[in-house]
C-alpha cells in the first residue's frame, strides 16, 4: 500500500513538471525535453502499477519490443521529412538545418 502512495506522489509531481513545461521559454532545439516528464511517468506506471517484472520475463520482453518498434517507426519514418528539401512552404527560412541537399534545387 505504501509504495503505491509514493508512486502516486511522484506521478503528480511529474505531471506538474509537464504542465509547467508549457510556460518555459525553451529554444527550438530543446523542445524534445518537454516529453521527458511524460516518459518518466510512463516508466513509473509500467514498473510500479503494472508491475511489468511480475509474471515471468515475457511482459518485459513484449514491452521492450514495443518500444524498439516504436523507435523504428518514428525514427526511420521521420528520416524522409527531415532530409527532404523540396516542399516550398518550409524551405524559405532556415528552420530546417538539414545536411546540404544532394540535389541543389536552383
Amino acid at each position: 500500500m505504501r509504495h503505491l502512495l509514493w508512486m502516486w506522489l511522484a506521478l503528480v509531481a511529474l505531471g506538474a513538471c509537464a504542465f509547467g513545461g508549457a510556460f518555459l521559454p525553451l529554444p527550438a532545439g530543446l523542445r524534445p525535453l518537454l516529453m521527458l516528464p511524460s516518459l518518466v511517468m510512463v516508466a513509473i506506471l509500467a514498473l510500479g502499477f503494472m508491475e511489468v517484472r511480475r509474471g515471468g520475463a515475457l511482459p518485459g520482453a513484449f514491452a521492450l519490443a514495443a518500444i524498439f518498434w516504436l523507435f523504428v517507426l518514428l525514427g526511420l519514418g521521420s528520416a524522409d521529412p527531415l532530409t527532404r528539401r523540396v516542399y516550398p512552404a518550409d524551405q524559405g527560412g532556415a528552420s530546417v538545418p538539414g545536411p546540404p541537399e544532394i540535389s541543389p534545387q536552383r
Binding site: F19, M35, G55, P59, I67, W69, L70, Y87, D90
Partner: protein, 216 residues
C-alpha cells in the same frame, strides 16, 4: 491428469498460475500492438508539425490547457485507486476492491465528462477542422492539421477510456458475485494493465497537444 485442476483452469493449462501468467503475457502483447497503433498517430503529428511549424503551434495554442491538466491528474489518481483495489484483492478484501473499482470508473466518467465539455468549447470556437475555422491566413492550414490530429487522438483515447470503464465495472460486478479470491483474481490484474495503459496514452498525448505548441 484430472480434467479440472482448479475451478477456472482450461484443459490446456497445467495449473492456475500457468494460465494466469499466460493471460498477463497476452494482455502485455495486446498493449504492444496498441503502442504501435498510437505510434502511427504520433508519426502523423511529427509530419504535420514539421511541414507547418507556425500554423501547428498556433492551432495548439487554442487548446484548453486547464481541462487537459485536470484530466491528467484524474487519470493518475485513477491508476492509483485501481492499484489500491489490486492490493486489496491480494489481501482478500473483496469489498474494498469493489469500492476501488467503482471509484476508478467514477473518475473515468468525470474524465469523459470534462472531455465532452472541452469538445463543446472547441466546437463553439469554430475549431472543428472542416468548414469555417477560427484561424485565418498562413496559420489556418497548420491549425487545421493540428485540430485534425487533436480530434482523432482524443476521440480514439475516449473510445479506449469507454472500454476501460466498462471493463472496470465488469470487474466490480464479478467481485460482487464473489468470483475473486486472494489466490485467483487474474481478470483484475489484466484489466488493471489495460487501465494503466490508457492512462499512459493520455500521459504521452498531453504534452503533444497542450504543452509543445504553447512555446513557439
Amino acid at each position: 491428469m484430472s480434467e479440472n485442476v482448479a475451478p477456472h483452469t482450461h484443459f490446456q493449462y497445467e495449473d492456475a498460475r500457468h494460465q494466469a501468467d499466460s493471460a498477463i503475457a497476452g494482455m502485455w502483447l495486446f498493449l504492444a500492438t496498441e503502442v504501435l497503433f498510437f505510434g502511427g498517430l504520433i508519426l502523423a503529428w511529427i509530419f504535420c508539425r514539421h511541414w507547418n511549424p507556425e500554423g501547428f503551434a498556433a492551432g495548439a495554442k487554442e487548446s484548453v490547457l486547464w481541462i487537459g491538466t485536470v484530466n491528467l491528474a484524474l487519470l493518475i489518481t485513477s491508476s492509483f485507486v485501481y492499484g489500491l483495489g489490486q492490493a486489496a484483492i491480494e489481501a482478500g478484501r473483496v469489498r474494498m476492491l469493489i469500492w476501488c473499482c467503482l471509484l476508478t470508473a467514477g473518475i473515468g466518467v468525470v474524465f469523459l465528462g470534462l472531455k465532452l465539455l472541452e469538445w463543446h468549447v472547441d466546437l463553439d470556437e469554430n475549431l472543428w477542422p472542416a468548414g469555417p475555422f477560427k484561424l485565418h491566413g498562413a496559420e489556418a492550414d497548420g491549425g487545421r492539421l493540428f485540430w485534425i490530429f487533436y480530434f482523432v487522438a482524443t476521440g480514439l483515447h475516449a473510445v479506449h477510456m469507454l472500454v476501460g470503464i466498462v471493463a472496470v465495472c465488469w470487474i466490480a460486478l464479478r467481485a460482487r458475485r464473489a468470483e475473486f479470491t486472494a489466490d485467483w483474481h487474474t481478470p483484475v490484474t489484466v484489466v488493471g494493465l489495460y487501465w494503466s495503459f490508457v492512462d499512459m496514452v493520455w500521459i504521452v498525448l498531453y504534452p503533444l497537444i497542450y504543452v509543445v505548441g504553447r512555446l513557439s
